[in-house]
């Protein structure tokens, strides 16, 4: 495959030269998800989830809040890359652009909310 014709390149057809980075980051975050999300699932299984006191005590330790923040970053980056591929496979006209923009809003907004919430609980410390 070549780089296409000049007019094709002007119209944005052909490679955007971002594919390898996308592919590689999908795999890197897959690896970090295996570690971080497995840790989160095991933690959720062991924690008394109905106890506000126990959960704030848990998140007051950096050994819980930091891996949880890393898990949020890894998960939301991975889902943003993954859903991008799903959208590109099924949406072919201008709806693709709208869907990708909405996906970015969801991924960045969701991660920001989650990280802010974790930090707020972590900094307020365990509730007596």
């Amino acid at each position: 495959m070549g780089n296409g014709t000049s007019i094709g390149r002007v119209r944005g057809l052909g490679s955007a030269h971002a594919g390898v980075k996308h592919w590689w980051h999908q795999r890197i975050t897959a690896g970090s998800n295996i570690l971080l999300v497995t840790w989160l699932v095991v933690s959720l299984f062991r924690l008394p989830l109905d106890s506000y006191k126990a959960l704030t005590l848990w998140l007051s330790s950096p050994w819980a809040s930091v891996p949880l923040i890393l898990a949020v970053i890894s998960v939301f980056y991975h889902l943003r890359l993954g859903l991008q591929v799903v959208i590109e496979d099924y949406q072919h006209d201008f709806t693709r652009v709208i869907a990708i923009v909405l996906l970015n809003f969801y991924a960045i907004g969701g991660a920001a909310l989650a990280i802010y919430a974790i930090l707020k609980v972590a900094f307020q410390g365990a509730v007596a």
């Binding site: 008394p48 989830l49 109905d50 998960v75 889902l79 859903l83 802010y116 919430a117 609980v121």
Partner: protein, 139 residues
Amino acid sequence: MARNPKRPLSPHLTVWKWGPHMLVSILHRATGSALAIGGGVLLVWWLVALAGGAASYARFVDLMTSDSTGRLNLIPAIILIGLTWSFLQHLCSGIRHLLLDTGAGYELKTNKAGALATLAISIILTAVIWGLILTKGAL
């Protein structure tokens, strides 16, 4: 995509026989999408409820659990069991994809066995985890 309707469609979509590798492939996409939306929203909701303080978290727990028994309500239970299985299926199938990325496991028998293994492991582990949760009476 622009397509000349006079041209025939490739016939393979209706002619090929379903195999486990095809099922696991589409399940990877389906479970990934379910985790991305359902799991993502639930995770953020849970953390924001927790950050809102004791009263805010009590409302979250109240919505998810029954007042009389203290156990999970039916709808949250179904969603959480579904997300547990989706996570395990996506995890197993994801690890299989990482192995396939190295170029290994494309022989017909190995490929089929790998695909079937992801299904078996995800279903068995989901049953074990929820068996433990329900018998322990935790939530």
